[in-house]
């Protein structure tokens, strides 16, 4: 349990802290601004103004809903890896590859030694922090995922590339901490995909987090958890933010067999369906995790970033999360 660590950091959170994973959908006005900017119809300043406006929209929305630990919503990012690749030295844009169906993304190529040149997310984190008095997560993409979702040309192998990236991402984390970030999430959705490389991911996470005064979360999703559990518990973080609803809570069976030893941000709504889960469904999922893990260890959030949903769907799903968590908080806090 890391409640003591949070208190040391001066963060006092209620039972079942409610958070979001990272991204929210971009409002229509921002989508239009991005399209206009891509066609040179507006200047960068106009795009950034729209991004700030959208960030404020989601900060206000999270506060209004009753979220405890906020995110900036990533209004300024396109793809979670490409955004970091665009701001680190050593990458080239690698052209379009398919993600699924008729969706494509620009997959970066590591063509030279990678270097962190200046803060990547810091200005946005500072802007969002200025809009709220609630704790705000710093969210960065982790070195293993940046490596795995890039083409590695410069480095001789995947491990070398991953560890080189880890040293650079640590600088981004240090910059966030220096500015006051106390809760930092390292997104590593790719980590569960090649179980044989889990030791590399652990080594990289040590490089990113060791000795730094922050409460660390790592977000992992859509992979074969059964292949990396319990080994993943060796990742040096305080909290695992896991997609659990989409996989019908099957992680809990693993936790029953081998004790889970960290805090968890438990995904209680599926982000890949338009259907908004009813409060009872979400509450039932929370009750199921309570049968397996101590209440002090449980945070509550959606499975993953909500950017693929409409704004209305994202808000409705967050509302389900908040309502269920608060209902359970009310009946559980005295027990």
């Amino acid at each position: 349990m890391s409640r003591a660590k949070l208190q040391e950091l001066g963060i006092d959170l209620p039972l079942f802290p409610i958070t979001a994973v990272g991204s929210f959908p971009k409002p229509d006005f921002l989508l239009k601004a991005r399209a206009d900017f891509a066609k040179n119809r507006i200047r960068l300043g106009a795009l950034e103004k729209a991004e700030r406006q959208a960030t404020e929209f989601w900060i206000r929305k999270q506060e209004g809903l009753g979220v405890d630990v906020l995110v900036d919503g990533e209004m300024y990012r396109g793809d979670m890896v490409a955004y970091f690749a665009e701001h680190l030295d050593g990458f080239e844009d690698g052209g379009l590859v398919r993600s699924y169906g008729n969706r494509y993304y620009h997959k970066p190529i590591i063509t030279d030694e990678v270097h962190w040149v200046e803060p990547i997310t810091l200005e946005w984190w500072k802007y969002a922090r200025g809009l709220t008095s609630k704790p705000l997560k710093g969210v960065v993409t982790g070195p293993y995922t940046i490596m795995d979702w890039s083409f590695v040309e410069f480095y001789p192998d995947r491990r070398t590339a991953c560890l080189a990236l880890a040293k650079e991402i640590r600088q981004e984390v240090e910059a966030l901490i220096e500015e006051g970030a106390k809760i930092i999430q390292i997104d590593e959705p790719a980590i569960s995909v090649r179980p044989e490389e889990l030791p590399v991911a652990i080594e990289a996470m040590h490089i990113v987090t060791d000795g730094l005064p922050a409460y660390f979360i790592t977000h992992i999703c859509y992979g074969a958890f059964e292949d990396i559990y319990p080994g993943m518990l060796d990742l040096p973080v305080d909290n695992f933010d896991l997609e659990t609803s989409n996989s019908e809570l099957d992680m809990l069976e693993l936790f029953k067999k081998r004790r889970y030893t960290k805090d968890i941000s438990f995904g209680v709504v599926d982000v890949h369906t338009h259907v908004v889960e009813e409060e009872q469904v979400v509450e039932q999922r929370l009750r199921q995790v309570l049968e397996v893990l101590p209440k002090e260890a449980i945070w509550v959030d959606p499975d993953c970033g909500l950017k693929t949903r409409t704004a209305d769907e994202a808000i409705a799903k967050m509302q389900s999360v908040v309502t269920a968590a608060k209902a359970l908080r009310a009946v559980t806090s005295d027990k």
Partner: protein, 329 residues
């Protein structure tokens, strides 16, 4: 000595210039009601022709239709069978590419051709022999959810997929396909399931008639089951050499009773292989394998690469072959 060159299976259906965005654009317009399904088919035809032309230009002896019409390697086949509905997205092995997961909720049956029309179109438009490519029944079953219930549910599902694909193999062979490739990456994740796999594949192989049947593995190390693979009723055995530093030595020491499709060129990374280093791998393999009948190939489908890089990889096959054979490239 000769060494033939082959594409693996898929080819990027998009590029960075306007011409190569035709299909994406047309599908998006169709989804908004601005274009018809016929317009999408015409765009697929055009992109297929471009993919074929780029493969021929790269000097390949055996080409594919690039799987331009496929949304993914699983649902493109499964969705055409009765008894299947499609569910949400799932990651395709260790890639950052996602497929629609089939849910099998009734008896699996082939109610019509799956790939025949696509193959015939490509064969008509191609200046080189076209290989027909199917995802295998074991991989389809492993990537599906079984809701058809009861004991032995997975085996029934596998049997259903096997029967459907066997009929398709027969249809493709009858249509003149000289090489039919069956892809089974899932076996590498379940090597202990070899007996079950063997039973399924043997049933499929019986329907190939005079076509050459290629069985292809990728996204994993086949070395641990290499000797088992040699016992299967295949004409061509395709291996991904990028996951195992030892596979070249394993093949060189154990030999092969099958003609090999050598996936020595990494279809997952943009970096071009050192021709001399790959030629040395070929020399080692040539000591125990007859490379006169073998194919040099990418390790997997090329749609994991940007189009310009995929094209470079295909051209690089000829560079490597020429280095190996000692001719100027």
């Amino acid at each position: 000595m000769e060494l033939s060159l082959s594409n693996h299976s898929s080819y990027p259906r998009i590029g960075d210039d306007a011409e190569h965005q035709l299909l994406r654009r047309t599908i998006a317009q169709r989804d908004k009601g601005e274009k018809t399904d016929d317009a999408v088919r015409a765009a697929e035809d055009r992109m297929t022709e471009l993919a074929l032309a780029e493969q021929v230009e790269a000097g390949l002896d055996l080409v594919t239709d690039g799987q331009i019409r496929w949304l993914d390697p699983i649902s493109h086949l499964a969705a055409k069978l009765s008894g299947v509905r499609l569910n949400g997205l799932l990651r395709f092995f260790d890639t950052n590419f996602y497929f629609r997961r089939p849910v099998v909720e009734g008896k699996l049956e082939r109610t019509g051709p799956l790939l025949l029309e696509e193959f015939e179109f490509a064969q008509e438009k191609s200046a080189r022999s076209v290989k027909a490519v199917l995802t295998g029944p074991y991989t389809l079953a492993r990537c599906s959810v079984n809701e058809n219930g009861g004991a032995g549910g997975f085996d029934k599902m596998l049997e259903g997929y096997t029967g459907a694909l066997a009929a398709e193999v027969a249809a493709l062979a009858a249509a003149g396909a000289k090489v039919i490739q069956v892809e089974e990456p899932a076996l590498l994740k379940h090597p202990d399931d070899f007996s079950r796999f063997e039973q399924s594949f043997s049933a499929l192989a019986m329907s190939k008639d005079s076509a050459q049947l290629a069985l292809v593995f990728y996204f994993g190390d086949p070395a641990p089951i290499y000797d088992h693979l040699q016992t299967l009723p295949v004409d061509l055995l395709g291996l991904d050499f990028t996951y195992s530093p030892d596979l070249v030595d394993r093949v060189a020491s154990n030999g092969t009773a099958r003609t090999l499709v050598l996936g020595l060129v990494d279809g997952r990374n943009t970096r071009l292989e050192d021709p001399a280093a790959t030629a040395r791998q070929l020399e080692k393999l040539a000591r125990s394998a007859d490379l006169n009948r073998a194919y040099l190939s990418p390790s997997c489908g090329l749609e994991f690469l940007p189009r310009d890089r995929a094209r470079q990889k295909l051209k690089h096959l000829a560079v490597i072959r020429n280095t190996f054979l000692g001719s100027p490239s």
